[in-house]
C-alpha cells in the first residue's frame, strides 16, 4: 500500500442485530480517503444495514467503527453529521411536501455558516442544473429520477467528507444510471469520499476503486475494483456470466 493513502472509515468486527436476529457478522470494511468504495451483494444480504450501522441509526452489538481515527460507534446521528458523514437513503425519501429549496435547506440543517451554505447550494446546482430550474417545485411532484438527484444534492448540502449512498441507480433508466454514476465520479473528484451500495455491480465496479461483497451478513470478497471485475466467482454471481 502507498503511504499517502489515509484511512477514513474503518469497520472492525462489526456485528449488528435487529432484536434477536443477527444481520451483520464480523464485518470488516476499510474506506480510504478520496476513493470510491462500493458494497455489492444480493437482496437482504445486509447492505442497507451496514450503512445504517455506520450512520448510527442502529447500534452495532459488537465491534468498532472508526472515522478519521476516532471511534464513532455510539455517537448520535447529529454528531456524525457534524463530523462530516451524510447519507442518501434507500428509495430517495425526499420530503414530498417541501420545495426543492427547502429540501436542500434541510440538508444543511446543522450548519449555520450562511455564506458556506450558499456556496454549497451553487455547487449542487452546478452538479444538478435541473434542480436549479425547479427550486420552487414540491419534491413530491418531481419525477423519480429528479427525486434521486434531489436526494443526492440534499446529502451534499451538509458538506460531507464521507458520503454514503444506498442504491442510487434503483429504478432509473439506463441513460439516467449513466448520468448518475458520472455525477458520483464528479463528486468524488471534488474531494468527497464515497461509499456506495449497489445492485448494478458492473456499473459500480467501473467507477469504484475498491469493492466489498456481502453475503448473508458476511463479507465474502474484498479487493480492488479491477481485481473484482476479473474474479471468477464475482463474474458468475453478480456480473451476469454463466
Amino acid at each position: 500500500m502507498q503511504a499517502d493513502v489515509r484511512q477514513m472509515l474503518k469497520l472492525c468486527h462489526v456485528d449488528t442485530h435487529y432484536g434477536p436476529i443477527q444481520i451483520l457478522r464480523d464485518v470488516n470494511i476499510d474506506i480510504n480517503m478520496g476513493e470510491i468504495t462500493c458494497l455489492l451483494g444480493g437482496n437482504a444480504s445486509g447492505k442497507s444495514t451496514t450503512l445504517r450501522t455506520i450512520m448510527g441509526m442502529v447500534k452495532p452489538t459488537s465491534g468498532t467503527i472508526e472515522f478519521d481515527g476516532e471511534r464513532i460507534d455510539g455517537l448520535s446521528i447529529q454528531q456524525l453529521v457534524k463530523r462530516g458523514i451524510s447519507m442518501v437513503p434507500e428509495n430517495r425519501r425526499i420530503f414530498g411536501r417541501m420545495t426543492v429549496r427547502e429540501n436542500l435547506e434541510m440538508g444543511s440543517f446543522l450548519r449555520s455558516d450562511r455564506s458556506g451554505i450558499r456556496e454549497d447550494m451553487d455547487r449542487v446546482f452546478g452538479l444538478f442544473p435541473r434542480l436549479k430550474e425547479r427550486v420552487g417545485q414540491l419534491g413530491g411532484t418531481m419525477s423519480g429520477g429528479e427525486q434521486q438527484m434531489l436526494a443526492m444534492a440534499r446529502a451534499l448540502m451538509s458538506r460531507p467528507s464521507l458520503l454514503l449512498m444506498d442504491e442510487p441507480s434503483m429504478g432509473l433508466s439506463p441513460l439516467f444510471v449513466q448520468q448518475t454514476f458520472d455525477i458520483i465520479q464528479e463528486i468524488s473528484r471534488q474531494g468527497t469520499t464515497i461509499f456506495v451500495v449497489e445492485q448494478n455491480a458492473n456499473m459500480a465496479l467501473s467507477i469504484a476503486d475498491r469493492g466489498y461483497v456481502l453475503q448473508t451478513g458476511e463479507i465474502v470478497l474484498d479487493d480492488t475494483a479491477a481485481n473484482l471485475r476479473e474474479n471468477k466467482m464475482m463474474r458468475q454471481a453478480y456480473l451476469g456470466e454463466t
Binding site: M55, I77, V81, R93, F95, R97, F109, L110
Partner: protein, 718 residues
C-alpha cells in the same frame, strides 16, 4: 341517452327523498319550524324542506351536464332548457318520497321507534303549519290528506324545476340569486341577534323596523335583501378598483401634512372612545357626543371650551376613582377631536372636489392621478391595516353583549387551534387529547388565583399567575410528550385520547379533591385587572382574547417560517430521514408538545378567569374534537384556516341556538362534506392545496383525454 338521463333524475330524486325524510325523522324540520325566516311566509323548517328539493333539482342538472358533456369542452353539448324536465322528475321523486312518509305517518304509529315522527311533523308536511295561508292558497286543492299530498308533490316538482333552471343560468346571475337566497336565510336566522344589536334608539331602529318584524324578516325585508344582494354582487368587481382609486386620489392630491393630521385626529378620537368604553361606561359615546345639538346650531367651539374647562376642573376626589372621575374631560376631548376631524374631512373633500373639477376642465388626458406604484401599494396597505385594526377594536361595542360572548368563545378556540396546529399541522403528531392542556391551564390558573380558602391559597392575581401557568402547562406538555415519543399515527392518537380523559378523571377524583375540588370544581376565581380596568363581561374580555389571538398567531407564523418549523415539517414528512439530516427528532417532538401545551394554557387560563368557576366536565373530549375539527375545516397547517374554522365550528353553532341539539350532527356533516368536496380545507395552506389541486388537475386532464379519445372513437365508427 334520454333513458340514462331519466334514470339519473330518478336516482337523484331518491337521494333527495332520503335526505328529506332523514331531516324529518331526526327532528330537525320540526325543531326549526318554530323559527321564522320570513315572518308569516316561511319558517326555517320549511325553508330546509324546500331547499332540499331545490338542491336536488340543481345537483341533478349538474349530473346531467357531466353525463352529456363530460369535460365541459363542447358548448353545443351543454344542457338545454328542455333538460330541466329531468330536474322536475327528481323533484317529483323527492315529493313522492315525502308523500310516502306522510302515508306511513297517517297509517302507522311509528313514534315508539322514531320519537320525532310526531303529529306536528305530519301537519308541517301537509303544509298546514309553518307556512302562510297565501302560499297554500296558491294551490287551492282544498283541505285534507289528499290535497296536502298533492300540494307537497307539486311544490317539490316546481322547486326541482327551479333548481335545474338555476343551474342553467349564466354564472354571474346564478351566483347573485343563490347568494340572495343565502342572505335571506342568514338574516332570518340572525334575527334575534339583530334585534339586540339594532333595535335601540337611533338610526338603527328605523332600519331594524324596515327589515325585521321581531321574529324574522318582514316580507319587504326579504325583498330588500334580495335586491341589495343582487346589486352588490353585480357591483362587486368594481369595488376593489374604486377603493384603489380613492386611495390614489387621496395620496396624490392631499398634502401629506393634512393626511397625517387627519389620521392622527381619527386615531385620537378612536382611542379616546376605546378608553371610554373600557374605563368609564360600557357604551361608546356617539359620534360627536352632542350631535343633534351641533346641527341645530348650538355650535361647537364655545361648547367645547366649556366642556374642556369642565373637564379640567372636574372634581378629582371622586370616590369612584380611576378613569371614571375623568369622564367629562374624556368626553370633551372626544368632542374636540371629532369636530376637528369632521372639519378636516369636510375641507379635504372640498379640496378634492375642486381638484377634480379643475382636472376635468383642463384638456389633460391623464385625468386620474397615478402616484408611483410602490407608494400607492404602501398607502393601500396602511389604510387597509388601519381599517382592519379599527374594525377589530370596535366590534364588541357595536355588536353588543351576546355576539361578543360568541366572539370570546371563538377567540378561545382560535388560540387553542393555533396551538394544536403546531402539534398536528406542523409537527404531524395527531393529538386527540389536546383538552388536557386546556384543562391544566385552566386548573392551574384557578388554583393559583382562587380566593376560596379551601383550595389553593396562593391567591395570586391573574397576571402574577399567568407565567406560572404557562410554565406548568409547558411541563405538562413535556410529560405527555415523553411517553409517546416512539408512537406515531393511530397509536399516538389513541394514547393521547386516553391522556385527555385521564386529565378529566384526575380532576374529578377524590384523591385530588383537596387540591382541585373534585366534582364541585374550583370557585371564586377573581376577574382580570389591568390598572383600573376590570375585564368583566364578554365585551371587555374580547380585547384580552384578541390580544392573545394576535400573539399566538404571530408566534405560530414566525415558527412556521423558522428553522424549527422546517425541522417539524421534515419530521412530519419522514421522521427517519429527518433524523439522518441531523434533526434531533426527540427534542423537536417534545418542543412541539410543549409549545402546543403552553399556547392552550393561555386559552384555559382566560377561560377560568372568565367563568370564575370551573368544573371537570367542562374539559371533556368534545373540546379536543372541536379543536381538531376546526383545523380540518380550515385546512390543516393553515393559520388563517384556524380562524375560519373556529368561526365555522364554534361561532355558527353558538349563534344558532336551535342547532345546539344537533351540534354533533352538524360537525359530522361538516366533516363529511369537507372531505368530499374540499379535502384541503376552506383556506388551505399553499402547499397542501397545491398538492391536492395538482392531483385534481391531473384527474381533469385525464378525464378530458378520455373524453376526447371517446369522441374520436365514436366519430370514426359513426
Amino acid at each position: 341517452m334520454t333513458n340514462s338521463k331519466l334514470k339519473l333524475g330518478i336516482r337523484m330524486g331518491a337521494y333527495g327523498g332520503v335526505a328529506t325524510i332523514y331531516l324529518c325523522l331526526v327532528g330537525i324540520i320540526e325543531t326549526f319550524s318554530d323559527r321564522d325566516i320570513i315572518t308569516g311566509i316561511i319558517s326555517l323548517g320549511h325553508t330546509l324542506l324546500f331547499l332540499t328539493a331545490l338542491v336536488t333539482g340543481y345537483l341533478n342538472m349538474q349530473q346531467v351536464d357531466k353525463l352529456i358533456n363530460p369535460a365541459h369542452q363542447v358548448v353545443e353539448k351543454a344542457p338545454k332548457p328542455k333538460d330541466t324536465i329531468h330536474s322536475a322528475v327528481a323533484g317529483i321523486i323527492t315529493g313522492i318520497s315525502l308523500v310516502i312518509l306522510v302515508l306511513v305517518l297517517d297509517r302507522f304509529n311509528i313514534r315508539d321507534m322514531l320519537v320525532n315522527a310526531s303529529p306536528k311533523l305530519f301537519e308541517l308536511l301537509l303544509l298546514e303549519k309553518g307556512v302562510t295561508p297565501t302560499m297554500v292558497s296558491l294551490l287551492p286543492f282544498g283541505q285534507g290528506l289528499a290535497a296536502g299530498m298533492l300540494r307537497l308533490v307539486v311544490f317539490s316538482t316546481v322547486l326541482g324545476l327551479v333548481g335545474g333552471t338555476l343551474y342553467l343560468l349564466p354564472p354571474t346571475r346564478r351566483r347573485s340569486i343563490m347568494l340572495g337566497i343565502a342572505m335571506v336565510v342568514l338574516l332570518g336566522l340572525l334575527s334575534d341577534l339583530m334585534r339586540i344589536a339594532l333595535n335601540k334608539p337611533g338610526w338603527s331602529e328605523g332600519f331594524y323596523k324596515l327589515i325585521y318584524t321581531g321574529r324574522g324578516l318582514s316580507s319587504q325585508g326579504a325583498v330588500i335583501t334580495l335586491v341589495a344582494t343582487a346589486a352588490i354582487t353585480s357591483a362587486w368587481r368594481y369595488i376593489p378598483d374604486s377603493y384603489t382609486r380613492v386611495i390614489s386620489v387621496i395620496t396624490a392630491w392631499l398634502p401629506t401634512w393634512i393626511r397625517i393630521t387627519l389620521a392622527s385626529l381619527l386615531s385620537v378620537s378612536l382611542l379616546l372612545r376605546l378608553a371610554w368604553f373600557l374605563g368609564i361606561e360600557n357604551v361608546y359615546p356617539p359620534i360627536l357626543p352632542d350631535c343633534p345639538g351641533l346641527i341645530t346650531s348650538n355650535i361647537s367651539l364655545t361648547n367645547c371650551t366649556e366642556w374642556i374647562s369642565q373637564g379640567l376642573s372636574a372634581p378629582q376626589e371622586s370616590t369612584e376613582g380611576g378613569l371614571a372621575s375623568s369622564a367629562p374631560a374624556v368626553s370633551a376631548a372626544i368632542t374636540l377631536a371629532d369636530s376637528l376631524m369632521l372639519l378636516g374631512i369636510a375641507a379635504s373633500i372640498f379640496l378634492l372636489l375642486v381638484r377634480t373639477v379643475q382636472m376635468s376642465m383642463s384638456s389633460d388626458i391623464q385625468k386620474w392621478p397615478a402616484p408611483p406604484l410602490q407608494k400607492l401599494e404602501r398607502a393601500q396597505r396602511l389604510v387597509t391595516l388601519y381599517l382592519g385594526v379599527a374594525a377589530l377594536l370596535f366590534i364588541p361595542g357595536v355588536v353588543g353583549v351576546y355576539p361578543s360572548e360568541v366572539l370570546v368563545m371563538v377567540g378561545l378556540y382560535v388560540v387553542m387551534g393555533l396551538g394544536l396546529n403546531i402539534v398536528v399541522g406542523m409537527a404531524g403528531l395527531l393529538d386527540l387529547g389536546y383538552v388536557a392542556f386546556f384543562a391544566v391551564g385552566a386548573y392551574s390558573m384557578a388554583v393559583l388565583t382562587t380566593v376560596d380558602a379551601s383550595v389553593g391559597g396562593a391567591q395570586l392575581s391573574f397576571w402574577g399567575a399567568l407565567p406560572l401557568v404557562v410554565v406548568i402547562t409547558g411541563i405538562a406538555g413535556l410529560l405527555v410528550g415523553a411517553p409517546v415519543l416512539r408512537m406515531r399515527g393511530d397509536y399516538l392518537a389513541i394514547v393521547t385520547l386516553g391522556f385527555g380523559e385521564i386529565a378529566r378523571f384526575l380532576a374529578l377524583s377524590d384523591w385530588f379533591k383537596p387540591a382541585l375540588g373534585g366534582a364541585q370544581g374550583i370557585i371564586k376565581i377573581p376577574d382580570i385587572h389591568i390598572g383600573g380596568v376590570e375585564f368583566v363581561g364578554p365585551q371587555k374580555l374580547y380585547y384580552l382574547i384578541l390580544v392573545s389571538c394576535l400573539i399566538a398567531y404571530f408566534i405560530t407564523a414566525r415558527l412556521k417560517d423558522s428553522r424549527v418549523g422546517r425541522a417539524w415539517g421534515a419530521m412530519r414528512e419522514d421522521e427517519q430521514v429527518a433524523d439522518v439530516m441531523g434533526v434531533n427528532t426527540t427534542a423537536y417532538k417534545l418542543l412541539a408538545f410543549a409549545m402546543g401545551a403552553l399556547i392552550a394554557s393561555v386559552s384555559g387560563a382566560i377561560f377560568a378567569a372568565k367563568l370564575g368557576t370551573i368544573y371537570p366536565h367542562s374539559f371533556n373530549v368534545q373540546v379536543s374534537i372541536t379543536a381538531l375539527g376546526l383545523l380540518i375545516v380550515g385546512g390543516i397547517g393553515s393559520l388563517p384556516g384556524v380562524v375560519v374554522g373556529a368561526f365555522a365550528l364554534v361561532g355558527l353553532p353558538e349563534l344558532l341556538r336551535e342547532f345546539s341539539e344537533y351540534r354533533m350532527l352538524f360537525y359530522g356533516a361538516a366533516m363529511v362534506i369537507m372531505m368530499l368536496v374540499r379535502p384541503q380545507g376552506l383556506l388551505p395552506s399553499a402547499r397542501r392545496g397545491h398538492k391536492l389541486q395538482g392531483n385534481e388537475r391531473d384527474q381533469d386532464d385525464w378525464m378530458r383525454i378520455a373524453a376526447e379519445s371517446e369522441a374520436a372513437g365514436s366519430e370514426s365508427s359513426g
